[in-house]
Amino acid sequence: MLETRATHGSWLLAALLSLGLASCTHNPPPPEPAPGPPPVGAVTLMTTAQPPPEDLQLDVGVRVFGNESQDLGITPINEETFARIRAMEKHYLPVVLRNTLVASNHWGVVRVLPEDDPSVDLLIRGTIIESSGATLTLHVQATDSSGHDWLDRVYSGRAYSMHYQQTPAGMGDVPTEEMKDPFRDVYAQIANDLLMARMELTERDIETLIHISELNHASDLSPDAFDAMLRPDEQGRLTLARLPADNDPMLARVAAMRERHHIFIDTIDEYYDALYLDVKHLYDLWRQYSHDQVVEAQTSRRRARNSMQSADNFEVLRRNYDRYRWAKIFEQEFVGLAAGFVNETAPAVLELSRRVHGLTGSVEEQYAQWRELLRALFELETGGVFADDP
């Protein structure tokens, strides 16, 4: 509307502009934001020195998270910078969960994956609901290869100043131990809940689950050959209809393919790990600033609630302007730090997307290409025995 080159003077437009804003000239101080889900509190990760026997170890895939968090209070002009941080978090936070599961020693191989993977026994999907230096809220779902849901829960954790009192690695003059994740309780709670779910299974259940995963992957390579071996029950969960013979040559080929596939997804997992290691100290520092920003916003809200005075007094006007000015300077500095974080982590993020095995595109695209390639390879090796007739 303001861009129209009508014959009306610019002051008329200015008047309209002012009129539009006049309705919000007297903003009552906003209330505190609505509380989210209760925080998990202090949680001790359940670990074991004695991992399960190898044939009873479940392989876990942690999918790259979705991110629905919004930077409340960040104005549209700065959105792009924060969008990049959110994009990085999608890859970073699953690695923290992966590391927690590995540290518990209760699982087989735990990998971060770009997509759902038919070869894993348990797949974890996460969505970041809120992520700041003060709060982390994740929606976590875990489903095993039979389609049975293990977990569907929102986890929330709060971090306080004490969590940031350690000097992040590489930041101080004296090298210190690596800073622990301020939201480690959240990840520990997820890991413990997964363990509880696994403990409900018998050894036979676990063996069946591992067979189903193998057939799932086989079926992904050659649906015609293996689909019939799995049958959904009334609840839609997959059960074993029959097992191929141990000496089935097709199964041997599938096992060989599975090995190759694991090498590929191990490589992908290493990329996520490399990103995590590259940006960890920066992300720790960034979250510390983010925590300060949240604390400052809370202080501002408190101040605003306690100061409703006459606008005719210069001291009141000056104080109000100063508060606005400093709040804005603070936000600008925060945005500057965000830009600094994005600039410094850019090489690591780019590295994640580098070419793998002659495939191109993002990690997600490469993964999809790999699955196609594996199917084609399998068909080639089996001489197209199970390929659809033209």
Partner: protein, 236 residues
């Protein structure tokens, strides 16, 4: 990130875009470049500006004039037979409010220089001891800040760049920027207003000057703040 523009008036955003692409190198050009025809024409505010005190308003004079107007209006009402004591005390209260607004306007507009960085994407007005005013060159209207202590929006009103700041207790501040046809004079109108009394305006004129180039290119980092290097090293 500092880009000084030639003092061409109404320079096409295309020039700004090309300059931005040249300075940023391939990284910037890899991002989605806006279609040139989609970019609205904006006047060029970019550069260093210093206050022209000879042409600018003097706040005491403006205050005196405005308060006089309020008194004259009150006297006029009295002469018309309106001797209501509430009207007289109202005029006194108005005068007090105008003084407060004038002092605030003076405080806000005190800096005698400013630097404006303009790209194809945004205009950033940097003033000493104050938060920068930042506005998109592409959007006609945009919220740029929102906090319990105030909110800010900006927009383009024909060729003027307008910032509206809403403070607590219903006080608003408007900055209106425009440049002359030669691109050598920048005019800034600052208006402080509230619902309780008439607004107070201050006009300031700025003239363009060429600041000495540092020859440095800086990039913001999280761990070391601004990291600068000379352009020649970067080109190597």
């Amino acid at each position: 990130m500092i880009r000084t523009f030639h003092p061409l008036h109404w320079s096409l955003p295309a020039v700004a875009l090309l300059a931005a692409m040249c300075l940023h190198g391939p990284q910037a050009s890899a991002t989605q470049a806006p279609e040139l025809e989609d970019l609205p024409l904006r006047p060029d505010f970019g550069g260093h500006w210093e206050k022209d005190y000879g042409r600018s308003d003097h706040w005491e004079q403006e205050l005196h004039r405005t308060v006089q107007q309020v008194h004259q209006q009150a006297q006029l009402q009295q002469r018309r037979g309106d001797s209501n004591p509430a009207a007289i005390s109202g005029a006194r209260r108005q005068a007090r409010a105008i003084i407060s607004k004038a002092r605030l306007a003076e405080m806000i507009t005190r800096p005698d220089s400013m630097r404006i960085v303009q790209t194809g994407e945004l205009v950033r007005i940097e003033r000493p001891d104050d938060a920068p005013l930042i506005c998109s060159t592409r959007e006609n209207r945009q919220a740029t800040f929102d906090n319990v202590h105030g909110s800010e929006s900006c927009g383009w009103s024909r060729d003027q760049l307008v910032f509206d700041i809403q403070l607590a207790e219903g006080v608003s501040i408007q900055h209106r920027f425009d440049v002359d046809t030669e691109g050598e004079t920048l005019r800034v109108l600052t208006r402080v207003s509230s619902r309780s009394s008439r607004s107070f305006d201050l006009r300031h004129f700025f003239t363009r000057y060429e600041a000495r180039s540092t020859g440095l290119e800086c990039v913001q980092t999280l761990t070391q703040g601004q990291v600068c290097s000379t352009r020649s090293r970067r080109q190597q």
